[in-house]
C-alpha cells in the first residue's frame, strides 16, 4: 500500500476515505480533520482558552496533542475516578504525557476531594457506574472551566462514540436526546461551551494517531464498561462499516445535516427552569444539583456548606 499523498509506504488504510497514508501524511490528515470540525461547527474562536478533559486514553491524549499542534491555548484536567488499577494506570499515562511536554494540567481526585469514587457511587445510587461517573465528570469539568476562566471544554468523543450514541438514541427514539446530540453545546446559564473536535476521526484513526505520534496511552479498557450497551452499538455499526465503509460517517453527519434540527423544534431546551444549586451554585432544575446529591449519598456529608472545588496539585514536570 502506498501513501495517497507521497506514494511512500503507507502505515494505515482508511477505507472510508478510500486512502492510505504514511506517518507524516496521516498526522496531517488528522490535523486537517480536526481543524475542519472546529471550523465547521465554530468550536473554538482564535484566542479562546480551552480545557481538555483528559482520561489518559487514546482519544483525550490525541485531542490534547492535536489542539496544541493546531496552536490552541490548552490546559488539561484529569479526574481521578478511583476505579482501582485502571485509574492508577490511566493517571500515570496522563501525568507522563503532560510532564514530557511540559504542559499545564490539573488533577482532581474524587476520593480525596469528595470522599467517594465511581465504584462506591455506583453502589450507593444502584445505577450503572458510567452514570455516576459521567455526571461527576461533566459537573467538575464545568466547575473547573468556570473557575479557570476558560471559554471551552473539549472532550475526546470521536466519530464512533457519536455514531453509537446516535444509534442508541434512534433505536429507542429518545427524541429529547436527539435534539441535543450536537458536536457543540453553546455556553450559557453557568455552563461553558462544550466541544467535540474529534468527531471527524474514527476511533481507529485516533488510536493510530497516538501510535504514530509515540503517545503512550492507556490501552486497557475501563473494567466498568465491559459488556455495556454502548459497546454493543459500536460493534453493530462496525459490522456494517466493514461491508460499506463510510456508513458511520454518513449516519452521524447526515443526522447533523438533515435531521437534528427536526428534533430541536419540538424539544424543550429548558434552560429557563434552572437556578443555582444551594450548595455549589451550579445550574440545576432543583434546589440541590445532582452532583451534590451524589456527594451526599456516596461520600461524606458537607453540612450546610458549599462543596469546594480545590484544584489539585498543578503538576510540574
Amino acid at each position: 500500500m502506498k501513501c495517497r499523498v507521497c506514494r511512500g509506504p503507507a502505515v494505515i488504510d482508511v477505507r472510508r476515505h478510500n486512502a492510505n497514508f504514511c506517518v507524516e501524511h496521516f498526522i496531517e490528515q488528522c490535523e486537517r480533520q480536526v481543524a475542519k470540525a472546529i471550523e465547521a461547527f465554530d468550536m473554538i474562536a482564535p484566542g479562546e482558552r480551552v480545557l481538555v478533559a483528559v482520561s489518559g486514553g487514546k482519544d483525550s491524549l490525541a485531542l490534547w496533542d492535536l489542539l496544541i499542534r493546531l496552536g490552541y491555548d490548552v490546559e488539561g484536567l484529569y479526574i481521578g475516578l478511583g476505579i482501582g488499577e485502571y485509574s492508577d494506570v490511566s493517571g500515570d499515562h496522563a501525568r507522563r504525557f503532560a510532564a514530557e511536554r511540559d504542559l499545564t494540567w490539573h488533577v482532581l481526585d474524587l476520593r480525596e476531594e469528595y470522599g467517594y469514587d465511581v465504584p462506591t457511587a455506583a453502589a450507593a445510587t444502584r445505577r450503572v457506574p458510567c452514570s455516576a461517573c459521567g455526571m461527576s465528570k461533566r459537573h467538575l469539568f464545568d466547575r473547573v472551566a468556570l473557575e479557570r476562566g476558560v471559554d471551552v471544554v473539549a472532550t475526546g468523543h470521536n466519530l464512533d462514540d457519536e455514531a453509537a450514541v446516535l444509534f442508541g438514541n434512534v433505536l429507542h427514539w429518545h427524541t429529547d436526546y436527539l435534539a441535543r446530540q450536537l458536536p457543540v453545546l453553546p455556553a450559557g446559564h453557568g455552563f461553558p461551551r462544550k466541544v467535540k473536535p474529534l468527531v471527524r476521526l474514527s476511533e481507529r484513526e485516533s488510536a493510530a494517531y497516538c501510535i504514530v505520534r509515540g503517545i503512550d496511552y492507556q490501552v486497557e479498557e475501563c473494567p466498568m464498561a465491559a459488556g455495556n450497551r454502548h459497546l454493543g452499538y459500536k460493534e453493530a455499526l462496525n459490522t456494517i462499516e466493514e461491508r460499506s465503509p463510510g456508513t458511520k460517517h454518513d449516519f452521524y453527519f447526515g443526522f447533523l445535516d438533515r435531521a437534528a434540527a427536526l428534533f430541536r423544534s419540538g424539544a424543550t431546551i429548558d434552560a429557563e427552569g434552572l437556578s443555582a444549586c444551594v450548595r455549589c451554585g451550579a445550574p440545576t432544575p432543583g434546589e440541590v444539583c445532582a452532583f451534590c446529591r451524589l456527594v451526599e449519598r456516596a461520600g461524606g456529608h458537607e453540612p450546610g456548606g458549599a462543596v469546594p472545588v480545590t484544584l489539585g496539585r498543578r503538576e510540574q514536570p
Binding site: A10, D13, C130, V165, A207, A208, V219, A225, E242
Partner: protein, 74 residues
C-alpha cells in the same frame, strides 16, 4: 511476555486482558485478523513497534500486537 523462540513462530500480543500467543507467521495482516475473528475497524496491528496496514506481510521473526481500539465509556 515470552521471548521469540528462535524465529520459528510469531509472537502475537492481545489485549483486554493482556496476553500473548504464538502462531505460525507467513501471512498478511488481513489474514491474521480474519483468523482471530477481529474486525478491521476494531483493531490496529503494530509490528515490532510500528503500525502496519492490512496488506503487510508478517513473518516468524515478527512480534505483533493486535491492539483493540474500541472504548466503552460515555
Amino acid at each position: 511476555m515470552r521471548a521469540a523462540s528462535g524465529g520459528s513462530t510469531m509472537i502475537v500480543r492481545l489485549r483486554n486482558p493482556t496476553r500473548t500467543v504464538e502462531v505460525q507467521g507467513g501471512r498478511s495482516v488481513a489474514k491474521l485478523l480474519n483468523e482471530f475473528g477481529l474486525a478491521r475497524e476494531a483493531v490496529l496491528v503494530v509490528r515490532n513497534g510500528e503500525l502496519v496496514p492490512g496488506d503487510a506481510f508478517l513473518s516468524n521473526e515478527d512480534e505483533v500486537e493486535l491492539r483493540p481500539v474500541i472504548s466503552g465509556g460515555v
